[in-house]
């Protein structure tokens, strides 16, 4: 009972911290990585709250595909900047 | 017996099919909207369950008088606008089919989460349509605000669910009647904000300027009539039938509506571009309608929505067409444009007069009724605001009409360009369309009893009985 609470507090704290870092970081790439990490933590919180379906979906879509699409977009910007 | 779910399913099916039949997108779009128009006349009012599970467990569609007139008007305008600007559809056929399904879904659904889903469908199609103007930063701005708005709507909705344990509109409104309304302040306000973004209410309407101000002759009238009308109808349903608003919040929200009205009209006064004038006028009208709905005046609000969306369909079509042809819609540069296109000019004039509320036009009927409605509530500041708005409206519309009807200043080199710097050719389809729509405004103005008799069979819209203050002005005077 108590151990679950501690895990919850840690997850919640990290979630807030990573969300804040994602919004506040200067570089785009770090923002995206932090977003992906906070999405992973959200997966953890979904698992704690007994929502396996949501956890799987968030893991595949939220921290997988969305990050990939973000990174592809960044790749274009980098490229144009190089030339 | 026709099931209204067909109004959503058929456009969707055609949209999916149009990916394979990719050369017939615009034809499929016309087919879909024409079939929908025919189906509407075969509909029977009632409650339709989807999936066979009775509400509140399953999702249901509600086809009452309110939903019926709204889908009739929205589908009709959708069809007319697509016929008018058929040449502009091209690749957008699939998107427009999906948007038709989304608009019908929003108007028909009886479930608040289902409304969220259709709201997202409709707004995503709107983002895509707005990007036709190639001003991507405005589309992006719209996307961000729209997503935030629907997110806040969902937030409010979830709070309601966790308290009432249901997502069904009828169920929630039943439970809301016994709840402590002062505690419901936050969910109600969140839902208001969510819908206000799409309904263009101040201060959540930052996207409107860029999106409406650059829309072409297809997208502009669609946004200003079909989309705007749908959003306002949905606003009415949610705030009159589903949610009860505590009296303090109600006054606050009515003031927000009134401020939107005045701010919109004042901004329109200071603009010179035709589409900017029209868009600020649209914002003002939305504020007015929202204030009416929150005051509980459903009949006048519905009449005013009709007035607004029919007039704006005509005016945005003509304004958008001018901008498409000439690349500008500065009223000064288009001086005398109507001298060469008299029918289009007359339709634009009729629409403007109706929007101002001059006698003989439909707008007079709706304005008189809404003023009488407000007086019947013993509210005396709102009529002052509305009259002030009407005066400002009259000033800028008549100024605009004078510019567009009178030839430009003398001293131009070529006599051919004496009327206007640009030549504008309005196609036959558009002329027929705008004449048709403005004829409706005149006929409804002369025979308002007809509108009223067709408005409702049961004499009741949402929760409001057919009000005693309403009267018909036969002959329009």
């Amino acid at each position: 009972m108590n151990s679950v609470n501690i895990v919850e507090v840690i997850v919640a704290g990290l979630l807030i911290l990573l969300g804040f870092l994602a919004v506040n970081s200067k570089k785009m790439i770090t923002a995206i990585i932090y977003l992906s990490l906070s999405s992973m933590l959200a997966v953890l919180s979904f698992a704690i709250m007994k929502a396996p379906d949501v956890a799987i979906t968030e893991a595949v879509i939220g921290s997988g595909l969305i990050t990939a699409v973000f990174l592809f977009t960044l790749l274009v910007f980098k490229k144009v900047g190089d030339e | 017996m026709m099931n209204p779910v067909l109004l959503i399913a058929i456009p969707l099916l055609l949209a999916f099919l149009s990916i394979i039949l990719k050369h017939y997108k615009s034809q499929l779009l016309l087919l879909g909207s024409a079939v929908n128009m025919i189906l509407i006349f075969g509909l029977q009012k009632g409650e339709y369950i989807i999936g066979g599970f009775k509400p509140p467990f399953g999702i249901n569609l509600v086809l009452d008088d309110y939903a019926f007139i709204s889908i009739l008007v929205v589908n009709g305008l959708f069809l007319v606008i697509n016929l008018m600007s058929f040449d502009k559809i091209d690749k957008l056929g699939t998107v427009l089919l999906v948007s038709l399904a989304g608009l019908n879904g929003m108007l028909l659904t009886g479930d608040l989460f289902n409304l969220f889903v259709f709201l997202e469908i409709t707004s995503i199609t709107a983002y895509i349509l707005s990007s036709v103007s190639k001003k991507y930063q405005y589309s992006f701005n719209y996307l961000v605000l729209g997503t935030l708005g629907s997110g806040l709507y969902l937030f409010g909705l979830i709070i309601l669910y966790s308290v009432f344990g249901s997502l069904n509109m009828a169920d929630i409104s039943k439970q809301m009647a016994t709840a402590n309304l002062n505690q419901m302040l936050i969910p109600t306000f969140l839902i208001f904000v969510g819908l206000a973004v799409e309904a263009k209410i101040l201060p959540f309407n930052g996207w409107v300027k860029g999106v409406y101000g650059n829309a072409n002759s297809l997208v502009g009238p669609l946004f200003a009539s079909a989309y705007a009308g749908t959003m306002l109808f949905v606003f009415g349903r949610v705030f009159v039938q589903v949610l009860m608003v505590s009296s303090y919040l109600k006054v606050t929200l009515i003031i927000i509506g009134a401020v939107t009205l005045l701010a919109g009209e004042a901004a329109a006064l200071s603009k010179t571009r035709i589409r900017e004038i029209l868009l600020y006028s649209s914002i003002g009208q939305s504020g007015l309608v929202v204030a009416l709905f929150l005051s509980g005046l459903v009949f006048p609000a519905v009449l005013q929505i009709f007035n607004n969306i029919f007039s704006k369909a005509v005016m945005f079509t003509i304004g958008g067409k001018m901008a498409d042809d000439t690349g500008t819609d500065e009223a000064d540069e288009l001086q005398g444009a109507f001298l060469k296109n008299k029918l289009a000019g007359l339709s634009f004039t009729v629409a403007a007069f109706s929007l101002i509320g001059l006698p003989l036009f439909y707008g007079f009927y709706s304005k008189i009724n809404l003023l009488l409605g407000i007086f019947s509530l013993n509210n005396f500041w709102l009529p002052v605001v509305i009259l002030l708005g009407t005066i400002i409206e009259g000033v800028y519309f008549i100024r605009l009409l004078v510019k567009l009807w009178t030839p430009g200043e003398e001293g131009h080199i070529s006599t051919e360009e004496y009327a206007t710097k640009f030549t504008i050719k309005i196609e036959l389809a558009k002329v027929i369309g705008v004449v048709f729509l403005s004829a409706i405004l005149i006929i409804a103005g002369i025979l308002p009893g007809m509108v009223r008799n067709n408005l409702t069979e049961s004499g009741q819209l949402l929760n409001e009985e057919s009000p005693s203050y309403m009267f018909d002005l036969e002959g329009g005077i």
Partner: protein, 247 residues
């Protein structure tokens, strides 16, 4: 300065939210949701029309909805109309993306070349990911998962191929055909329900025993369609994002 104003504003809004939400009578404290008072109770009992009887895994047959996974039964049965809408959202946004980015013909080159491990590894992993994806949407009514994560997994397998092989291109036309067919079939199944039992998207196939693979009526069929549709749509999105303007 702007940031300070924003923070002050949000602290104010936050305080309002926290006090406002938790002041509502009946708003459950965290971890104390009263499921019995909500519509969900009907979903759990798998009976929203008659008196409740206990549903037992592997024993109960011919229920309203035969899915062992309650979330699936809600997503595909009770609120199937939402799912149709959800599929449409993805459909229309992938359409918008291909309108915006699909016109380009070049392929975005990877800045660093794929090394040996990525090239060989992806060949090994690719069939495994596809299999997991297919497993997830076929078993959507029994285990966590379903059409959306399953379809996304298929798309991510194809993403892996894109990353490992410079020359790899999917034939987007075939994916579009799959997408269109799957979407149309979803609507047609709904219309069949309307014809057969008078309700759009109703479950007109026998629901079988809870827990069996061949059970739950139309749920597996719809989840397979959703999985295929989502998979092909997201593949289209990825392909569009990997395109680049060629001057």
């Amino acid at each position: 300065m702007k940031k300070i104003v924003a923070i002050a504003l949000l602290v104010f809004i936050g305080a309002l939210l926290f006090t406002g939400i938790y002041a509502i009578d009946g708003f459950p404290k965290y971890g104390e949701a009263k499921v019995a008072d909500r519509v969900s109770e009907g979903y759990i009992m798998k009976n929203v029309t008659e008196a409740n009887t206990d549903v037992v895994y592997g024993v109960s047959t011919n229920l309203e909805t035969g899915s062992a996974n309650y979330v699936t039964s809600i997503v595909v049965n009770y609120r199937s109309f939402d799912t149709l809408g959800e599929v449409t959202v993805l459909f229309v946004s992938s359409l918008g993306i291909s309108l915006l980015l699909g016109g380009f013909s070049g392929k975005l080159r990877n800045r660093c070349k794929a090394n040996f491990i990525l090239r060989m590894g992806s060949k090994v992993v690719f069939p495994l990911i596809i299999m997991t994806g297919v497993y997830i949407f076929i078993h959507g009514h029994l285990s966590p998962g379903g059409g959306f994560p399953g379809g996304s997994m298929i798309a991510s397998a194809i993403l892996l191929l894109y990353l490992s092989d410079e020359k790899f291109r999917v034939n987007i036309e075939n994916f579009k055909k799959t997408e269109s067919t799957a979407g149309s079939l979803y609507v047609i199944i709904g219309l069949l329900g309307l014809v057969i039992s008078n309700y759009f998207l109703s479950n007109f196939i026998n629901t079988g025993t809870v827990g069996a693979l061949l059970s739950a009526g139309i749920i597996p069929i719809i989840y397979v369609l959703v999985g295929l549709k989502v998979g092909s749509e997201l593949t289209g999105v990825i392909t569009d994002f990997l395109k680049e303007e060629v001057e």
